[in-house]
């Protein structure tokens, strides 16, 4: 049953979705293959999620759920994505206050940040492979442009508007 599978998948993603939106996206793109959403289609989902308000990880969950099983699918994916975080945050508040020593906390999270870095880097590689980024010089230019604009703190929405408009004329 697809709703149960969506629930389990997004519950799992929510449970281990440390490291913010892009880390979560990395996991979703992997699991989305199961629901017949290819990596190349998934980039479109990310683009749309970047353009809409709200946390990007959650937006991608909603859209992926919709693609997999329509509006009920979207609701199931969104709900099961936030459920584990909710439980963990409430439980974590108690535990953090009682047990965690400062140095333990710091070691744990500094190592974890390294893992998240590797995770997000692999997504860049996987998505690049999915659209065969090296086969067309225009792809490289757009990727570089997106990187540079975003690096210099141009708002993501503006970057996407520029990329979309330029894409319309150039491709």
């Amino acid at each position: 049953m697809i709703y149960l599978e969506l629930f389990l998948t997004f519950f799992k993603i929510g449970l281990f979705g440390f490291g913010g939106g892009y880390a979560m996206i990395s996991m979703i793109q992997d699991e989305a293959l199961k629901f017949g959403i290819q990596r190349a289609d998934f980039i479109d989902i990310i683009a749309v999620a970047e353009m809409t308000p709200g946390p990007i990880g959650l937006n991608v969950s909603t859209f992926t759920g919709y693609k997999a099983a329509g509006i009920p699918g979207a609701a199931v994916a969104t709900f099961s994505n936030i459920l584990p975080c909710f439980i963990l945050v409430i439980a974590g508040l108690f535990i953090l206050r009682k047990f965690l020593k400062k140095e333990l906390y710091n070691t744990f999270f500094s190592n974890f940040r390294l893992c998240v870095t590797g995770l997000v880097a692999s997504v860049v590689i996987l998505l690049g492979q999915a659209i065969k980024i090296h086969t067309d010089y225009r792809n490289i230019l757009f990727a570089l442009g997106g990187f540079i604009l975003c690096y210099y703190k141009i708002h993501p929405i503006i970057v996407l508007i520029i990329a979309g408009t330029a894409g319309y004329f150039i491709f």
């Binding site: 929510g14 449970l15 281990f16 440390f18 913010g20 939106g21 996991m27 793109q29 699991e31 980039i43 479109d44 683009a47 999620a49 970047e50 809409t52 308000p53 709200g54 946390p55 990007i56 990880g57 959650l58 937006n59 909603t62 859209f63 919709y66 509006i71 609701a75 969104t78 936030i82 584990p84 975080c85 909710f86 945050v89 409430i90 974590g92 508040l93 744990f108 500094s110 190592n111 974890f112 940040r113 893992c115 870095t117 995770l119 997000v120 692999s122 997504v123 860049v124 996987l126 690049g128 980024i133 757009f142 997106g146 990187f147 690096y151 993501p156 996407l160 520029i162 990329a163 319309y168």
Partner: protein
């Protein structure tokens, strides 16, 4: 400290409002949230806001969802936490749904295809920026750079499912942290 306790509906509405006006997501909304809940509403102090921000970022899940949960919990217990979280996800869900329905019906037009041909590589470049930011924040050195390399290797070349790679990383990291902290304690004693 609090002159009054906000109702469930008010908690819901405030987080719904903030999340509606957050484009691009995540930490961009910190100033907006701070103004709204610490400065204007005075639900929590600025110090509490910083603590809550740290907690929200340390837990899995979306930042605003976690912050809404923690803040709501502080204000009204479990029901406040539920109200905050639902408020935080309510409007993104509706808006995204409209976009998803709309996009699915237009994406086969050639003009839309062209626009997305430009968006795709740009999105990859933009995610590249967060890789660079993460590298800066994670204090990579000659000793520990193997950790991200190993993650990339197992995901990209070995095709291991991403989520299991991260769960393994999490568990190994916990074992390592506990092991290391034992060393620290022993040193302290001796």
């Amino acid at each position: 400290m609090n002159e009054y306790k906000p109702g469930i509906a008010e908690i819901f509405l405030v987080f719904a409002k903030v999340s509606t006006f957050t484009l691009g997501g995540g930490l961009a909304m910190i100033p907006l949230l701070h103004t709204e809940i610490a400065f204007r509403k005075k639900w929590i102090t600025s110090e509490e806001f910083i603590d809550f921000t740290g907690i929200s970022q340390s837990f899995p899940g979306t930042f605003i969802g976690n912050l809404a949960t923690v803040t709501g919990y502080k204000l009204r217990g479990i029901s406040g936490a539920v109200a905050g979280l639902l408020g935080a996800v309510f409007s993104p869900f509706l808006i995204m749904l409209v976009f998803a329905v709309f996009f699915s019906s237009i994406h086969h037009y050639p003009a839309v295809a062209k626009v997305f041909a430009g968006l795709r590589p740009a999105v990859i470049g933009m995610i590249g920026v967060s890789v660079v930011l993460f590298i800066k924040k994670s204090k990579i050195n000659l000793k520990n750079f193997l950790i991200p390399v190993l993650i990339i290797y197992s995901i990209v070349w070995q095709n291991f499912p991403v989520i299991y790679v991260m769960i393994s990383a999490l568990v190994l990291n916990m074992i390592f942290t506990v092991y290391k902290s034992r060393g620290i304690n022993k040193n302290d004693i001796s």
